[in-house]
């Protein structure tokens, strides 16, 4: 009795701690921005008027259209990502063929597309006078001297394709991890009983890997619903995130975007909760994880070429922006124009970028900030995962924590960043004399703490989803057995749960690392002193340079991209041996 009440106290204390964490680092900053935006601080404005604003959002045909477009994009992107990744993941699991491990790694490289210059890369390739036009002219498909506005053809389609090919790695990592939990003996049993390959997949493999698919798909869905950069790049303004962004960045104090933002965030949580209900909140499989004992089939000759081709096609399409960035970084200014490849090559941009005083300090800062965020995210994600899946908290509390952990995906980066800035200034106003507090809270002095927290919160969903999926796929019996034979909770956590979740944690950490290294909004707004600038700030700074700016930024971006890719592969191969299941290199 006493013991269980202690356990209960611990449970609720942990739950309270989590809620406080979300309260301080997510709800408070976001609410500060929203309530200021809605004018709630102005005297005479009451909470009731918020209802009127919300009503105004729904009355507005423009906003309704934007929401529909966003939902269509998000659905199509999610479906597209599933269609890209599930077959590849299955092929990856089933067959052995030359270059397989390399392909599996390259599939993840889209994760490390640096901001700002990625769009430049796409524009050089698909621009009206870009590489594709020039190539079509050479092939005689397009008359010489005719520019073609590829990107303006079907803006919505372009947005969907572009997002699907940049977001699929999130799903791929999750699906691959989930597949590693699926016991092949079950599939073999089904096959032995005469089930067709499709039936085995549909009734055995798919249900077993569903937590992973859901984990990835929910992130992809919410991400693509709230994605800002891609629609902007294609001049497609009738989507909710762009409408919010346009109106928030206007100089006037229009409250509508903030009301729209509330609707968006609630909508995302609702969609997520519905999805979760559909898949089942308690989707626990009681199967032990098999140590990759699946008999892979060694492919030879034409068969291996065919399978490899599937990988190559996806990789090449997904890496087009990266190729664009690399080529623009070695093209003389303005000389990748009306030609398949740059007309004149140069290394001058690399000389500028890498000798620039920003290059080294900014990559060092980024590595520190990201490293800290990864550590924090792993710890938080693990704790949250256990709370959501394993703890005996009431269902409503679990659902709340689960939804809160997904909320950061739906909050625009700009809003969270301004929220942190406002909170920092607020604390400064409250405690002007607390030197030690100000030295860590005041972003003008040292943004490290708040920046790392912003990174951590923004990218927490990946780790949470990843660990939740892992926990749902591993049987609790293993942990219970350990407890039975006398292991403490801590011992169980460290010796049983964490190793079992190794692959999931690595998967989450890889994504957190890649995305925090290339995080934009927080980096631009929270970091003011140059000595704290992360690499994205450096890229932005060079990008703004007139004339050759985009090329030099491409050079710095390409360098960061190569470095990040190598680090990802290196970590993969170091951990891969121990973790075993994720990617074997």
């Amino acid at each position: 009795m006493a013991r269980s009440s202690v356990a209960r106290a611990v449970r609720y204390a942990a739950c309270a701690a989590v809620l406080v964490l979300f309260g301080v680092f997510l709800v408070w900053p976001v609410w500060t921005v929203i309530s200021t935006g809605l004018g709630l601080s102005t005297p005479g404005v009451k909470l009731a008027s918020v209802g009127a604003y919300l009503a105004a959002v729904f009355q507005d045909q423009q906003f309704r259209m934007g929401a529909v477009n966003s939902a269509v994009i998000a659905t199509l992107v999610t479906v597209g990502c599933v269609l890209i990744t599930v077959p590849l993941a299955l092929l990856n699991r089933r067959y052995e063929f030359p270059g397989k491990s390399l392909f599996a790694s390259l599939l993840l490289v889209p994760l490390v597309l640096p901001p700002f210059v990625g769009a430049i890369g796409i524009r050089f390739i698909f621009g009206a006078q870009g590489a594709l036009t020039a190539w079509c002219q050479q092939l005689g498909l397009v008359a010489p001297g005719t520019p073609v506005n590829w990107l303006a053809q079907h803006a919505l389609g372009a947005v969907v394709v572009s997002e699907a090919f940049s977001l699929y790695p999130i799903l791929f990592v999750n699906v691959l991890t989930a597949l590693s939990f699926v016991d092949p003996s079950l599939e073999q049993a089904a096959a032995n009983l005469g089930a067709s390959a499709w039936r085995v997949f549909r009734s055995v493999t798919l249900p077993l890997m569903l937590p992973g698919v859901f984990a990835g798909a929910s992130i992809v869905f919410i991400w693509s619903f709230s994605e800002l950069g891609t629609p902007l790049m294609f001049d497609f303004y009738d989507v909710t995130p762009v409408q919010v962004y346009f109106r928030i960045t206007e100089v006037s104090n229009n409250p509508l975007p903030y009301a729209l933002l509330i609707v968006t965030m609630l909508g995302c949580c609702l969609v997520y909760a519905l999805g979760k209900l559909a898949v089942g909140w308690r989707n626990q499989m009681g199967w032990t994880k098999t140590p990759a004992a699946l008999g892979t089939i060694q492919l030879k000759g034409l068969a291996s070429v065919r399978v490899a081709l599937a990988f190559v096609v996806v990789i090449v399409l997904a890496l087009l922006p990266h190729i664009g960035v690399i080529l623009s970084s070695i093209s003389a200014t303005g000389q990748w124009y009306d030609s398949v490849l740059p007309r004149v090559f140069t290394t001058a941009h690399y000389q500028h970028a890498l000798t620039h005083e920003l290059a080294l300090p900014s990559i060092r800062n980024s590595l520190i900030f990201s490293g800290l965020s990864v550590v924090l995210d792993i710890a938080l994600g693990l704790g949250l995962g256990i709370l959501i899946v394993r703890s005996k908290l009431p269902f409503a509390l679990k659902a709340l924590i689960d939804s809160l952990s997904m909320l950061p995906l739906a909050v625009p980066g700009l809003v969270l960043a301004f929220g942190y800035l406002a909170v920092s200034l607020q604390i400064k106003a409250w405690f002007p004399d607390w030197k030690w507090l100000l030295s860590v809270i005041d972003v003008q002095r040292n943004p490290t703490l708040l920046l790392v927290m912003a990174y951590t919160i923004r990218r927490l969903p990946y780790v949470v989803r990843s660990t939740v999926a892992g926990l749902e796929q591993t049987p609790e019996e293993l942990e219970l057995a350990a407890r039975n034979i006398g292991a403490s909770r801590t011992q169980t956590l460290l010796r049983i749960t964490t190793p079992l979740l190794g692959a999931n944690l690595v998967a989450g950490a890889l994504m957190v690392f890649a995305f925090t290294m290339l995080e934009v909004s927080d980096s631009l707004i929270l970091v003011q002193k140059q000595s704290y600038w992360p690499i994205t700030r450096g890229i932005f700074e060079l990008f703004q340079r007139l004339g050759d700016g985009p090329y030099i930024a491409s050079a710095l971006g390409a360098w960061a991209m190569v470095l990040l890719t190598l680090i990802l592969i290196l970590v993969n191969s170091l951990l891969g041996k121990r973790v075993g299941a994720l990617f074997r290199i």
Binding site: A128, S252, Y337, G547, V562
Partner: protein, 550 residues
């Protein structure tokens, strides 16, 4: 095997990390600026200016400061965009109440309206410059009606530090493909052959874009008043012209710095651009032959060689494809200010910085070629605000004198104020409804009644009085009562949407029926009796040109 692969990877990571050091040791030729020992005076500047501007002024100011005051100075820059500056001050108000400082000394750069309206007396402090400095810098208080420094009674709170203007940047290759002449006026951009090949700047986000569009209407009103036509009609035509131009837009850009690249890459035929963005882009693209940049159109079309990775002349193959023009008689030139923030902790140093920026030496930094040991991008391509500097164009990169070109006609704040919610109206009818508007104008030009219907599109349905009346409603929102404004906004947008729908319907009617004619097309129908104006001329041009392939 595995450990071997890992080791190779490790070596690669280290090699990539070392690249900057390798480059640095091999290539660093520029001498490092010697750091003076001893305590330096501090200065904190919040600025949207580019890194090159900051670096150039940083060095020059340090040298000037050392020679004049025999002290060293260290500047810390806070890099903020124009809109973010206001947000920063708003967010810092609580902290200011407690501490008495915003931790910022100077705000430098952005539009003049940012300083006069958004920051104003609330966040800015008056500055007493050393006697004579103001007189020397600004013998005339304005340029074509636009104040060059704050002339409010309490003393100046901001000073123009440089001039900027807005013009049209264009790509000659795309123009040739579209069979279009090089644009010379804003009205040229309304030619339907530009459809989908034009990029505009969002007037609700960029103050300079707003001013540039205002000039279009002001120009109409000016002409109307010379011809003794009612101002109401001029407003309708000016705004209508903006709508015809916007119908050609591929998009409204968010970041002004992306525009030059879009034009030089040939993604659009023309774009609205800030002057120095255009000049810098032209200089960079035409770097191999500076004469071409100034001489205007290149003489020979480039021999099309696909991907020619040659040497020698091929390097110049792209030269001269980008051009820039400031529409004659409709150019808007505005100062880009510098100002002292309230509660500045280093007010004395800040004042000296302002004096340096307004000095002849400081002003020359804007427009001169890179100094010894400096790379080409250190040419800032900006126009000085101090008139006397133009009298001695030594080592200049640009030879236009805004004081002579923009002297006659410029945007006037008094007139501007009478435009009401012009930028909001443009956002509603052009940006929010861009696909709608674009489709409508395309439909119009497939109709036999093209001229008539386009004239209707070119007549703005919301009157200047209504636009002005909207200001009061808009002000209510700023005071925290947005309901009326939200309703008005929605009504206007619905009105525009209905108008476009009607126009499309009229355009799709068969010719015979059309002559019987639906009377009212939106609310613009009543005012359709416009003499041969832009609309008709443009319509004729469209009929003669072949359909624009896309």
């Amino acid at each position: 095997m595995k450990s071997w692969g890992t080791r190779v990877l490790l070596v690669l990571v280290i090699l990539v990390l070392l690249l900057p050091f390798i480059f640095r040791s091999l290539l660093m030729t520029a001498p490092r600026v010697a750091v003076r020992s001893g305590p330096a005076d501090q200065l904190v500047i919040m600025t949207p200016h580019l890194e090159t501007v900051r670096r150039k002024f940083d060095r020059a100011f340090a040298a000037w400061y050392a020679s004049k005051y025999h002290r060293s100075v260290s500047i810390e820059y806070l890099s903020f965009g124009g809109g973010e500056i206001v947000k920063f001050f708003q967010a810092s108000e609580a902290a200011y109440e407690r501490t008495g400082t915003y931790n910022v000394d100077l705000v430098w750069g952005g539009s003049d309206s940012l300083f006069s309206d958004a920051l104003g007396s609330k966040y800015l402090e008056t500055v007493a410059l050393e006697p004579g400095v103001l007189k020397a810098a600004f013998p005339m208080p304005d340029i074509g009606g636009v104040p060059l420094y704050d002339q409010s009674p309490g003393g100046p709170r901001w000073f123009g530090a440089a001039l900027s203007s807005f013009g049209i940047m264009y790509n000659r290759d795309v123009l040739a493909y579209l069979h279009l002449p090089e644009p010379r006026t804003w009205a040229d951009l309304a030619d339907p052959r530009y459809s989908g090949w034009l990029e505009l700047a969002d007037p609700t986000r960029s103050a300079s874009a707003k001013a540039a569009l205002q000039v279009i209407v002001e120009r109409e009103i000016e002409t109307a008043s010379q011809e003794h036509r009612p101002q109401q009609e001029a407003w309708a035509h000016g705004m209508g012209l903006i709508r015809q131009i916007a119908a050609n837009a591929k998009g409204f850009t968010q970041a002004a710095n992306e525009l030059p690249g879009t034009v030089s890459n040939g993604d659009v035929a023309a774009a609205m651009s800030i002057d120095f963005y255009a000049r810098a882009q032209i200089a960079a693209v035409n770097a191999c032959d500076p004469r071409i940049a100034r001489a205007g159109p290149r003489r020979q079309p480039r021999a099309d060689g696909g991907a020619a990775h040659g040497s020698g002349e091929d390097i110049c193959s792209g030269a001269g494809r980008v051009g820039y023009v400031e529409p004659q008689g409709a150019t808007m030139v505005t100062p880009e200010p510098i100002a002292l923030a309230k509660g500045a902790q280093h007010a004395e140093v800040a004042r000296r910085f302002i004096e340096f920026v307004l000095s002849d030496a400081g002003q020359r930094l804007w427009i001169t070629s890179p100094g010894p040991g400096e790379t080409p991008e250190m040419a800032l391509q900006r126009l000085p605000v101090v008139r006397s500097v133009y009298d001695h164009p030594v080592d200049f990169t640009e030879f236009t004198n805004p004081f002579t070109t923009a002297g006659g006609f410029n945007t006037k704040p008094s007139r501007r104020a009478a435009f009401g919610l012009m930028d909001e109206l443009i956002a509603l009818c052009c940006i929010d409804l861009l696909p709608d508007l674009r489709g409508t104008r395309r439909a119009i030009f497939t109709s036999p009644r093209a001229a008539e219907l386009d004239a209707k599109l070119g007549t703005f349905p919301v009157s200047q009085a209504a636009s002005q009346a909207g200001v009061a409603v808009h002000r209510q929102m700023l005071k925290g009562k947005p309901e009326d404004w939200l309703t008005l906004q929605r009504q206007w947008r619905d009105q525009f949407r209905a108008e476009y729908r009607e126009l499309r319907r009229a355009a799709e009617l068969p010719a015979r029926q059309a002559t019987a004619g639906p009377q009212a097309v939106g609310r613009g129908g009543g005012r359709g009796g416009k003499p041969a104006g832009n609309g008709r001329v443009i319509a004729r041009a469209a009929v003669s040109s072949q359909p624009v392939a896309r």
